[in-house]
Amino acid sequence: MIELKNVTCLYGRRPAVHHVSGRFEPGSMTAIVGPNGAGKTTLLRTIAGLHRDFEGQVIRNGRIGLLPQTPSLDKAFPITSAEVVAMGGIAGLGIFAAAPAPARVSEALQSVGLAGFERRLAGTLSAGQFQRLLFARLMVQDAPVMLLDEPFAAVDARTTADLMRLLHRWHGEGRTIVAVLHDLDLVAREFPSTLLLARDKIAWDRTAAALSAEHRLRARLVAEAWADDPALCQDAPRLDAA
């Protein structure tokens, strides 16, 4: 379970996410959507413990599995695909943790369509293959909570469908899935619940309700740019007041 209590994520004094409260229930599958600059990635990074400049409270139970945005990775680092996947089996378990068995790594690679890629340098993979590699790492990590930041960026439709099947499988196993996404059609088709963010929480509900025309219009109307001379937040009741 992940609970957000009046979370405001800041860049200096500027809020990227403003007074958001709510819960990602255990076993839920939620998409975080919103226009550019809505604070989606910042909120996910805050939940993952990567963005430390925030007010409010983030309560997390259970190990976190993370699929970060590709640009944050050093693809020039000379590491093989098998080694990347094996990272999932040792991350967070200390320096003496036993490495996952090669068979388990190969199985994970196979399940994302990368059988035979074990010795291939990760940096030589295409963008779509690389994304599948990160899914294989997530699979080996076997965490109860999985955070995914734009998992289908640079991935073709067929691969997206394959990876969505994997997400549904993990959801079916009782894991909590939280994914930052752009494709509203995909979200409407595949995700049971949605958090629509536009710096403030516009809606956090079943997907059909969250993505109603009214909510989408409100999200669109939020100015993307920060105001030049903003007023101080008085911590007044917000859109998301619970």
Partner: protein
């Protein structure tokens, strides 16, 4: 030929120099590979200058004593590395500009302290003297290698994770700052251990040049580390032989040998070399 290769090492001081260089060649290059891959090459420059005021203060406090100067250099190197990082965080500036500022001040401070001391040969500290390696220096080099290798083995996984995917590392409970600091401490130890033999300015040569050269031979991380160690060992032996037969200072001869092997890699290495660009090979069918 056999005489050419083995005659120099019949002499005790040459064997001692060789043993010291072997220790440096095993400990330093793996760290150099990580420095290169983590885009921290500037850090090696900073540390080689940054340890000088510590060595100078060690000489002031303990006289010309390898343990005193070594401890001073180690503390100064760590201070410089931490200070540059803290300054860049505190001011929001880029770390490389803070590093440049810190190491220039450190170098000037070291030279000023040493110049005020009588009986300390600045040239010797800056450029070392491989052939004057004594028991204590040899112990420092071997001891540093003994500490660096198992420590790097323990740090290997978090260091790879932190280098490749820092967000994933931190999100899964990894302590990136601690890993970075531990790694820097090992680099400082390796640089300090080489200062009696190669001097503060050139001890980095046997850490960085083999690592840079290894990129042209090794494809994977493990391959690059092995290649770097082999290149450093070869540079040490070649440098000592050249030094003995051509009567040139051993330290520069070793670093020049490493430089020659690096240029060899640039020209004709297995990867990303000029030869590979000029001579096209038949491509595979699939």
């Amino acid at each position: 030929m056999i005489q050419f290769l083995f005659e120099p090492f019949a002499l005790g001081f040459m064997r001692r120099a060789l043993a010291g260089c072997i220790a440096l060649s095993i400990a330093g290059p793996p760290l150099g590979v990580f420095l290169v891959l983590r885009r921290m090459s500037l850090m090696s420059d900073v540390l080689q200058h940054g340890i000088l005021p510590g060595i100078a203060l060690g000489a002031v406090v303990g006289g010309i004593s390898v343990p005193a100067m070594g401890a001073g250099g180690f503390l100064a190197g760590l201070t410089v590395a931490l200070l540059a990082g803290a300054l860049s965080r505190a001011t929001g500036g880029r770390e490389d500009s803070q590093l440049a500022g810190v190491y220039l001040v450190a170098l000037a401070l070291g030279v000023a302290i040493l110049s005020a001391q009588r009986g300390v040969d600045l040239t010797h500290l800056l450029f070392g003297s491989v052939l004057a390696v004594d028991d204590i220096s040899l112990l420092l080099m071997a001891g540093a290698a003994t500490v660096v290798l198992p420590s790097l083995a323990l740090l290997w996984r978090p260091l790879v994770l932190e280098s490749f995917d820092p967000d994933f590392h931190r999100a899964t409970g990894g302590r990136g700052a601690l890993v970075h600091l531990g790694f820097l401490a090992l680099v400082v130890l390796a640089v300090v251990s080489g200062f009696t033999a190669l001097g503060t300015l050139m001890s980095v040569g046997l850490i960085m040049l083999p690592a840079v050269a290894a990129r042209h031979w090794g494809e994977t991380l493990g391959g690059q580390v092995i290649a770097a160690v082999v290149i450093a060992l070869a540079a040490s032996v070649i440098g000592l032989l050249v030094s003995y037969h051509a009567d040139v200072p051993a330290g520069p001869a070793i670093v020049l040998s490493a430089g020659a092997l690096w240029i060899g890699g640039v020209l004709a290495g297995r990867r990303e070399s000029l030869l590979r660009r000029l001579v096209r090979q038949a491509h595979y069918a699939g």
